[in-house]
Symmetry: C2
Amino acid sequence: MTFDPTKHSHCRYNPLKDEWVLVSPQRLQRPWAGSYSACHHSVLSFLCVGRVEDDANDNDETANDESQKNNPLCPGVTRPSSKEPNPFYEHTFVFENDFPALLAEIPDPSNVEKTAKDDLFQCHAARGVCKVICFHPNSRLTLPRMTLDDIAHVVRTWMDVYDDLASKYQWVQIFENRGDIMGCSNPHPHCQVWATDFLPNEARIKHKTQKDYSLKHNGNVLLLDYIQRELNDFQKERVVVEHEHWLVVVPYWAVWPYETMLLPKRHVLRFSDLTPDEQIGLGKIMKELLIKYDNLFKTSFPYSMGWHGAPTGSMINDDCSHWQLHASYYPPLLRSAKIKKFMVGYEMLAQAQRDITAELAAQTLRDLSGEVHYKDKKN
Amino acid sequence: MTFDPTKHSHCRYNPLKDEWVLVSPQRLQRPWAGSYSACHHSVLSFLCVGRVEDDANDNDETANDESQKNNPLCPGVTRPSSKEPNPFYEHTFVFENDFPALLAEIPDPSNVEKTAKDDLFQCHAARGVCKVICFHPNSRLTLPRMTLDDIAHVVRTWMDVYDDLASKYQWVQIFENRGDIMGCSNPHPHCQVWATDFLPNEARIKHKTQKDYSLKHNGNVLLLDYIQRELNDFQKERVVVEHEHWLVVVPYWAVWPYETMLLPKRHVLRFSDLTPDEQIGLGKIMKELLIKYDNLFKTSFPYSMGWHGAPTGSMINDDCSHWQLHASYYPPLLRSAKIKKFMVGYEMLAQAQRDITAELAAQTLRDLSGEVHYKDKKN
Ligand SMILES: O=P(O)(O)O[C@H]1O[C@H](CO)[C@@H](O)[C@H](O)[C@H]1O
Ligand SMILES: O=P(O)(O)O[C@H]1O[C@H](CO)[C@@H](O)[C@H](O)[C@H]1O
């Protein structure tokens, strides 16, 4: 088998921006069958209307019960691209994306692509695996409305999937797209995990910045120093929630209006290093943050979120002591359930721009209830 | 006057990503009056419904004639935030954004903000100016449907505004958000110009990458070498349109499905260096590209676009010979007038991802007519 850039996932280098793009041409080979796949590429696609720019980001309100039982991610349902029905799972369910953006087995392009060793036309094979994790059997639930026990199962599954993939891949990206507005093709509560045999852009940059900081500051950890400064020097003005083990802060440099960072207060390199107590604490603080988010505009708050920790796989024995595990939440809403911040024009061409300050956003989130979800209020 | 981060535009540094964010808290001070400003922050806001996630990206079809005459960007209309009516302009019209993201006069934060000289909490004042350029008196026109003479006026105005601001500011960012889906708040054909006394992220990175390339390659210009390679080594497989002076190519490293780069074939550092012939040529090739774009999904094709050239202002005498002027078009549509590519989850947290290859996108665009707009076809 020889490398074929029209069939095999690969990365190409942008020499103007010093960053890479993942190209997944194999997804074009998938069968197109009627509105289901015409609507979107992923096995997850379900509410086709959700993929166009409509305003239904409050899935649990609009979907009716009947349709939710036939959701391809539900227990016992056979996904269009699968031969077997999903198991009758009771907590979480993990499967491989039927049309993955990454392939595990790809030959090297070096001897085929004349362009491989070129400053302007660089590419390398992109090997990896794409998994989906369903959070719960019930399509109408979201994380903030699950019980702490349900969420503990999600955290446990994150750790298991992470451990498994981290043994093989340099980078294991756990991420959740929530809401149609964030390109989420299926309202069933779920996240994705894309693991790669290379460091993607964000990972590569954070690896370098944290290492440089550590070298400059006697081995200190950038994010631990940052936490200390936030807690001690600024009257916690950007802190949203603080628990025993975990902290939620609107970072000083936040880009999205209500962007937050969730991180352990102790030095933790990777997901797999969390103690049982920290795992339980994680569920608690996530639930609190997500209830606040939903309460902000009284809507099922859309976001993309994901976890970043020290590299794994072939880098597992490298010195990664400069790393601190953290999750980032990037929610697009600006002023109401319908008005989002557009990252366009100036942002795409020059630099991200925001109006409300990080301090104001933190205060707003801090003042909202993180215990009672607006839908559970009796009035 | 002392620097106040709750009132003055400033940039904050993200030490994890090594990039800056522009914070414009002064925009919160603006008056909120009814649905107009509740709907969006900018003086440009007009079709409020356009700011929510609806599907009206084909403005010229949906807007009726009457409303278009009252558009705040039309000749003779008084903008809500202005005292004077707009002039009865016949070609283009330039004014300062009434609620700019940048302020021209701001004190330095150094002695006020204790955090100024800090590795984790860095900020600097962001001085600049935000202008709006109306392309044409008629709200229902878009660039691809204007005459070459109309477009020549737009190019001329770009050059004039550029010259004026370049004398004062390090970076003059001309950009156009087209279509509601791209956060464009007003269907009237227009673009914006944000000029700053600092290099925004994209400018800073491109300044460095082009300089490094030039140092490594005996003073060669990255983008000129790239053009030569595209034209000579690859059977023009990524070339969309080639004219005497200009070239449109889907860059090898394109991120958006139908992303293109438009650039002069000759070494041109800045907008102001274009010859009269090149200016006329620019209008021609833009019209051709934009007709192709509209024809692709038979819709008024949304995008963000902008111009990048060598820095100006206080950097005007620096050696910038490594720079090449170029425009980038970032269109979000993926598969139809309604189905866009979502840059979310993996893209925000790890790395941009695409399915169709740059080569396939180029071929598709190449094969479309760039002369006859789909709306002008008789059938
Ligand atoms: O054109 P407007 O309404 O000023 O605003 C639009 O462009 C700006 C510059 O790209 C963005 O910051 C806004 O998010 C977007 O909605
Ligand atoms: O969940 P899906 O349907 O696979 O797809 C979604 O997430 C992916 C990963 O962030 C993106 O590449 C897609 O653009 C988005 O629509």
